[in-house]
Amino acid sequence: MLGPMPGVPDDLAAAAALGGEMGSRILEFDWAGHPLGAIEAWPDWMRVTVAEMLASRFPIVLWFGDELFLMYNDAYLSALGEKHPAALGTPGRLIWSEIWDVIGPMLLGVMETGVATWSADQRLALIRRRFAEEAFFTFTYSPMFDQSGAVGGIFCAVHETTEKVQGERRLGTLSALASRLVERNDSDAVMEAASEVCGSNLADLPFVGFYLAEGDSVLLRACTDGLRDVLAPAAPSVRTWADEGAGAGGSVLLEDCRARFPGLAERLVDGVPEQALLMSLIGGPGSELAGWMVAGVSPLLMLDDGYRSFLEMVAGHVGRGLATARLQQLESARWDALVELDRAKSQFFSNVSHEFRTPLTLIASPLEDVLSEPDELSQTQRERLTIARLNAMRMSRLVNNLLDFARLEAGGAEPDLESVDGAALTADLISMFRSAFEKAGVGLEAELSLSAPLVVDVGMWERIVLNLLSNALKYTLEGTVRVELGAEGESVQLSVSDTGVGIPADQHDLIFTRFHRAPGVGRSIEGTGIGLAMVRELVNALGGQISVRSALGAGATFVVSIPLRSEDGSFLPAAERRRPGPAPSDVGTMFVDEAMQWISGGERISHDPGEDLASRRTEGQRVLIVDDNADMRNYLERVLSSSWLIDTATSGAEALERVADVRPDLILSDVMMPGVDGFSLLERLRDDPDLREIPVILLSARAGAEAALEGIEAGAEDYIVKPFTSRDLTRRVRARLAASQERSSRVVADERRRGALVALSKALARAAAPEELATVVLDALADIGPALIVVLGRLEAQDVLHLDFAGPVGASMRARWRQVKPDTDSPLSRVARTQVPLLLDDSRQLRTMFPTLRAEDVVEGLRGLAVLPLSIDGRAEGALAIGWREPVDLEPAEVEFLEEVAELVVRTCERMRVVEVERTLAEKLQDELLAVPARCLSAVIAARYSSSSTLPGVGGDWYDAFELDSDRVGVAVGDVVGHGIESAAVMSQLRSVLTAAAMQADGPVEAIEALDRFARHVPGATMATAAYAVIDTAKETIEYCCAGHPPPMFVSPRGKLEYLQDCRGLPLAIGQAARPRPAGRHAFPPGSLLLLYTDGLIERRRRSLDVGLDRLHAEIAASWNLPARALTSRLLRLAHQDGEPDDDMVIIAARSTGRAELVYAQTFPADTKALAGMRAHLRTWLDSHSVQPEERDEIVLAVDEAVTNACEHGSDFDARKVVTLEATLTNGSLLACVSDSGQWRANAPDSAATGGYGHRLMEALVDSFEIHSDRYGTSVTLGKSLKASVFS
């Protein structure tokens, strides 16, 4: 603590005691010998500021006098570093010489102009530790005013943000590295990305070089732009430098960069690093060394722990990026080799199969057709042909089985997993076999108790089940086969048990191997012996296992167990999840057919007894067959012609020629054709907008899922592999034709939705406020599946979700849910928060999902619900809920439609917000522009503005009034073409220029001419109009000039009206600038009234201007003797009643002060000293009308109360403000209006002197007493009918 020091003022001593080191230093400093002078002689402002600074814990530095001598507090010491303590009392430019080029002009600017500066995170290179060091500061320089009002010094509150700024910068680099390097799969790309990221942060990484070890040599692989020739020569030395340092894994500090990298100094002009850090590039612990990174240490930074670990982290990221890239390269090479092997195998089998399949089809299918026509063959022929057909089928099966198995074994069969109802799928497969079992007299039982979804490849599962069933039937001569399906722990278990011949134990392992056939007695000896082997491969491919329990003569039980996968929890539209059910497949038919052969010895059983091909000929649908093979073409025609009209083409080219004429409903084309093959045909069809809708089925001998996928991907509707049966072909052609019909109906639905979107966007464009949007959406949906409710939730500031409802939603619910916090657990807030859509097919699930919802929170009758997120550019904006009366199951196209609706809605909200912001801004601007003149003593002035209700934004109308000198007041009004912010800017310029010109000009003509000259340089001012008048109360005249503006209205003190017509000139900024404008002049005795207005007041659509002028004339004649403020309000109100105006409107009235017979106007400063004079004038005026003394005194007292209130509460006794009084006498009654520029305060609690008496007095003394207060001011209007006067 300091003891009291002689001569030190108390406040400074007290602050110094709190000020730590600087407190003492400032007191002890020899100020007497300093230009700032002895401490006790410091002016008050200086002493007080120094005391404040010392007492503050925020870093503050003060700059005093022209030399800007420094004073600062303890908190500022860190900014000074070693400059302290020398800095105290030293001129700023000496202390901060290194940054004077930056801060000097800022400081001097504040000294000169007194306007404060603000700098956020300003980068400065300070020398505070003997080297120039990068630092960041957020600070403001604000002026300190001395006792004369001049700037005597600068106050600077400063906050160092170096750590924050550098930290953010480094974090940015590290996260850019992390994200940029992750996807790179070769080291070149890693290097390129790394040097690019490093190049974006030269402040921390003035230069970097990446040196990679390649064998024994080291090469510079990447570096900072433009430094390759400087850094590359060092490559051979890098390994040596690293070895000389701490060893692998650590980093080595390289001194003297200039010597190590010759030429560096010439390239890096913004400071040359003296040091660099050499770091190893290693993929991770234990990984091999990939190379080194050399990073220059910024000369402006200390290599402290933070900086060093940043550099090491950069090297770490790059090292890991390199390691990952190398791994990926190895991995992808291995993968490529595998793929190539697999491809070669598939190719071989495909080629072989092609050779077999076409001839097989042409053997089997005609045989089948012949056999299906019972009357054409003798019994012997039938038997022989049946044998031929059976063998053709067997051969076909063998080929298929071999191909399937080969593919499985090659690992090429990737299961296409989907989640299905396993019990239903299995039951369908079993039922296919049921008739075969019945025929064989073997029982078939099933217990399918699996309730969890089965996640399998449906095709694989079918083969597993069918193989096992077929196997069981084959080896069971009597008894029962039992199938069970259920969950067993973590797996699904399928068991097929039979009471057949059984398998000896020593065979159990062998039966699953290829081509092994168990000895024993079955129904048939045929077979390739690959059935069970294939089952095992299929089960393995699904990640499961198969086992067998059996003994000879005791039947067998095969148990398949595959993992019970959990269903993916992510959102899938219901329609997508519900895959096509397990339709009886070709595979199934084949198995069953085969089984039937064992049982019946070849009798063919139709599984579709009701199907009679000939009777199902569909009305007029055409199929075009394209095949180069005449046999196949004829066969296909024969099969299909019973159902459809057939055209044929012998090549793809011919098909293309004919297709436009034939207009087939479906094209059936072979794939392999010379010239235009099936795929090219398909491609050309799809390219032609006219033809692209025609469904195409491709026929091919190439089997396998890949080939089929290729066909489907190319756009084929189906892909049929030879061999096929005629029945199968017919069925698939029929299915495709039906699907295309269905698709065309879907196209119609799409079009309706598109139409609805167009209608919606139009309706949204018409909506005026976001609150209406929910209703707009509900209406728009009415045409396409009407919704019950629509709820729009909009996230607004302060984290509030506003909900707007449309539909039958009760008032209490609307009120309860009008605003919710986004963290409320309700459907809309959850979707708004998570931005994940919520689709419920039944709203009864709502209360399970949202436990806090009450029953009354769910709209009655609501079933289906879709809640979609709303966002703009990734920013969450809210959610849109649409609810239906029915449970819904939305198709993907419908979901997409709703998403588009949501997008339109959120865009509309955004547009409305922009408009709203603009409108608010415009209103603010207009308010600024239309402030009523604060002070004018020679006239009472009142102005009113009303914006157009039909045009958006701010108008182009303006007005102004200003005192030219104590006798003269200028009044102006103008109108700029157009609306909105731009015209507001134009009008603000015109208004300012007119005011400025008016101050200089000798009369209104000169002022308008100056305005005209100016307007010629302002785009948007062309055709603007203006009227300007100068009222001279000493000369009792008015001079005026109009530029294309409607004529001002003059009202004499006795109520004689006159439009001032002598002043008509061209609007602004058109015609010849030089031509003289006409001037007008008129007498303006005390109490005269001038009215200026814009055309919105008189102009109406489809009406002559004269009608408007006459109307205004009549209205003013009826009310001219109202006080100016009441008159302007009334005229504006009447104008609104005169049809809705298209434009905004301005009206300004000026009544010159003085006593006239019927009116009396007075202005005075808001000072109580003016009260007595006001009363004297008012008494005189009232006496001149022979108002009775009692009434006179009552009026004077009431007016006095109003004026006192205006001085006190409206103006705070500020004599610069003006209070006005207008009084008029008409029809035996008096009207007096007292106005001020403040807000009305009735019975202000602090007005002890009046104690609320004023209000009571006014009420009792006059007949009517009205207070009108708005943002422009307050006026009190008193009315009293007089018992007797000259007018009564």
Partner: protein, 112 residues
């Protein structure tokens, strides 16, 4: 218009009575100062305020009367037809202090 707004004449009367005659006008510009002066003159004694010649008394003047009545016993003399009487009646100040039309007997003695 620098003529004083009001005229004030104060007389000490026997029996701890202070008689003050007010003329002219009282408004917000002079009421506070006048109030001060009268409070000092009365110093808690009976203050008899003769407002017969007063031409204007507004709410600030009422405030002054109210303050006086809180510190002294206050009685008023008011011309019944004047605006001052009217104003006093409106704010019901006559409920707070006796209002006479002429000086009461105990003070009129010796007034001549």
């Amino acid at each position: 218009m620098n003529a004083p707004l009001h005229q004030l004449e104060v007389q000490e009367r026997p029996g701890d009575i202070v008689l003050a005659r007010l003329g002219g006008e009282i408004d917000r510009s002079n009421a506070p100062e006048l109030c001060e002066r009268l409070l000092q003159a009365a110093r808690g004694r009976l203050l008899l305020l003769d407002l017969t010649d007063l031409e204007h008394l507004d709410s600030s003047g009422m405030g002054m009367l109210h303050a006086l009545s809180e510190h002294s016993r206050l009685e008023l003399i008011v011309s019944p037809t004047s605006i001052v009487a009217r104003a006093i009646a409106i704010v019901e100040f006559d409920q707070l202090a006796p209002v006479h039309q002429t000086p009461p007997e105990h003070v009129s003695d010796g007034l001549g």
